[in-house]
């Protein structure tokens, strides 16, 4: 029986993606006055609760994509929608983890984590209780009163993670968040990220240049073409079972298959990007 209700359900559930980029182009004016096209005609959907990794060579506009979704920058043309609404200003329910440290160096760990709720008008005591909870959840219990400079790089990332997650974002944007960490710490952090993600299941867009990391974490890996004018080259579904152990999943045969497939797509783009940088270097030399 084809009831209207069923139709409505079928339409409303999968057709409203958490993030929807349609034919997005982004141009910058460089300090020299020249125009630079970072993204060209990029289209990308992320479903609610989906973990999407974006990989691509240096300078392909990965980070630009995130700033567009977060509302920090506007698209030059095309449409950027979050939960079906056009992005104007910063959409509610968004979290952003930056590549560099963005925790406030003059606030203690606890105050840093409590910043989001405090900004949103939660009373101090309640915000601090919630913050203490999240500090514990990211494994920093006992460090509440430390200042960021007294922590290691990995610990600062945990603070940043708690700072974002305490707001219970529906969408979490991550810009190579673990890029500055050493390999071991990075694997541990990735694992913990997956566990924390599982608690509230926000949609994640995770930008990285590390394909292994991307496959180990994501439901979907999107490969961008080399810039300028980066766009989506291919999209791969990662059907590895969850829960995953990041350090071990790379030994599975299916992981290796996926890696080979995606690397085929990524390789030529990396070559193009590399050729561009070396040519630019040669041009500057002569």
């Amino acid at each position: 029986m084809e009831t209207p209700r069923q139709l409505l359900q079928d339409q409303s559930r999968p057709t409203v993606p958490a993030i929807e980029l349609a034919a997005v182009t982004k141009r910058f004016t460089t300090p020299g006055g020249a125009r630079y096209t970072a993204l060209m005609d990029l289209s990308l959907d992320v479903a609610p609760g989906e973990f999407c990794a974006v990989v691509g060579p240096t300078g392909c506009g990965k980070s630009t994509t995130l700033t567009l979704v977060s509302g920090l920058e506007r698209a030059s043309s095309g449409s950027v929608k979050v939960h079906g609404e056009e992005v104007k200003g910063i959409p509610p329910g968004i979290g952003f983890m930056f590549q560099t440290d963005a925790v406030l160096p003059w606030k203690s760990v606890l105050d840093n984590v409590a910043t989001g709720p405090r900004f949103r008008g939660v009373p101090k005591k309640k915000a601090n209780d919630a913050a203490r909870d999240w500090v514990r959840r990211v494994g920093l219990a006992g460090f509440e009163d430390r200042f960021p400079h007294q922590l290691s790089g990995g610990m600062r990332k945990r603070v940043a993670l708690a700072q974002s997650l305490i707001n219970e974002p529906k969408i979490l944007l991550m810009d190579e968040p673990f890029g500055a960490l050493d390999v071991q710490t990075r694997a541990i952090m990735s694992n913990e990220l997956l566990q924390l993600w599982d608690l509230t299941r926000p949609s994640v867009v995770f930008v990285t240049h590390d394909l292994e990391e991307a496959i180990a974490l994501a439901d979907k890996v999107v490969v961008l073409t080399a810039g300028p004018g980066g766009t989506v080259k291919a999209s791969f579904d990662i059907d590895l079972p969850r829960p995953r152990v990041v350090q071990e999943i790379r030994f599975e045969a299916h992981f290796v298959d996926l890696y080979q497939q995606i690397w085929e797509a990524l390789k030529s783009e990396v070559d193009v990007a590399y050729a561009q940088t070396t040519q630019a270097g040669r041009g500057a030399d002569s």
Binding site: S70, L72, I90, I94, G95, F96, F98, T100, D101, A102, V103, L104, P105, W106, K107, T115, G116, F119, R120, F147, H149, Q163, S164, N167
Partner: protein, 291 residues
């Protein structure tokens, strides 16, 4: 298990550490003693050289003064008071002018600097005026203030404000513009309004710049107060210096300078304390001697 072994290892270490710590400490103490001795020697050589140079020549003593004369002058001022009242009152007057002007000038400087740093249109509109005001020798305004507001404390405070304001203003302005863009973006996404971002991100970040300017600014505050008293006043250290100069009393001028030096050093000490307290979130500064 590990919870048991870790404290024991620390306990073992502390024995040998405390010995090493001990030799290190005594060496550091000896180093400090030697530095103090050298500092004292420098002062002694300068004062003794001065005293010997002018010794026995009354003309030189009148023109240049001499350390023993300065000492006598200070003693007379402290025990018998000055020609215009007790020494304490003079210091109080000058300090009052300097401190009130310093506080007002600093607050104005920070407010204006942050406002112009955060609000682009304000900076664009006011920038030529600020450049013009900054380029004129502002000390001349002292005469204007004395004419307009009389010989009392108000004209001096105004001069101090004008001198203090610009240093603080430019540092606050620059400090606001140097704030890490990522920190602002992060705070905005966490839900901060424009004011909250200013209050929790911009101000603390600019504070390193602002507090650096306070060291210089307090010096300017003292200069403003003294020059204001020079230009027209009836009391204060500047008036003391003016009287001493008028009566060929070089020792009087020097003695007033010694007092000002003590005042300035005390203020500097206070500002450094404040700096340590407000900036305790910063990692320890680079190694090397402090000045």
């Amino acid at each position: 298990m590990s919870a048991v072994t870790v404290p024991r290892r620390i306990a073992d270490d502390t024995v040998s550490v405390s010995q090493a710590e001990h030799t290190y400490r005594s060496r550091a103490r000896w180093h400090r003693v030697r530095v103090h001795l050298a500092q004292f020697a420098v002062l002694f050589v300068v004062l003794a050289g001065w005293q010997l140079y002018v010794a026995g020549d009354p003309l030189k003593i009148i023109l240049y003064g001499d350390p023993s004369g300065i000492y006598t002058q200070l003693k007379v001022w402290i025990t018998d008071g000055t020609s215009i009242g007790s020494l304490g009152d003079q210091i109080k007057v000058t300090l009052e002018e300097a401190v009130i002007g310093f506080v007002i000038g600093t607050v104005l400087g920070v407010v204006c600097g942050v406002a112009l740093g955060r609000i682009r249109i304000l900076a664009e509109v006011f920038s030529p005026y600020i450049k013009v005001l900054n380029s004129i020798p502002r000390i001349v305004l002292g005469s204007v203030f004395v004419l307009a507001f009389g010989l009392g404390i108000e004209s001096k405070i105004l001069l101090v404000i004008v001198l203090v304001f610009f240093g603080v203003f430019f540092n606050a302005f620059q400090g606001v513009r140097e704030v890490d863009r990522n920190l602002i973006a992060n705070a905005t996404i966490l839900g901060g309004s424009r004011w909250q971002v200013t209050r929790h991100v911009v101000l603390p970040s600019a504070f390193t710049w602002i507090i650096a300017s306070l060291h210089v600014s307090f010096g300017f505050a003292l200069i403003g107060a003294i020059v204001g008293e020079f230009l027209g006043g009836t009391e204060g250290l500047g008036e003391l210096i003016k009287i001493a100069q008028g009566s060929f009393n070089a020792n009087g001028v020097w003695a007033a300078m010694v007092i000002m030096g003590v005042v300035a050093l005390t203020a500097e000490w206070g500002i450094t304390r404040l700096e340590r307290r407000l900036l305790r979130w910063r990692p320890p500064q680079l190694a090397g001697p402090e000045l």
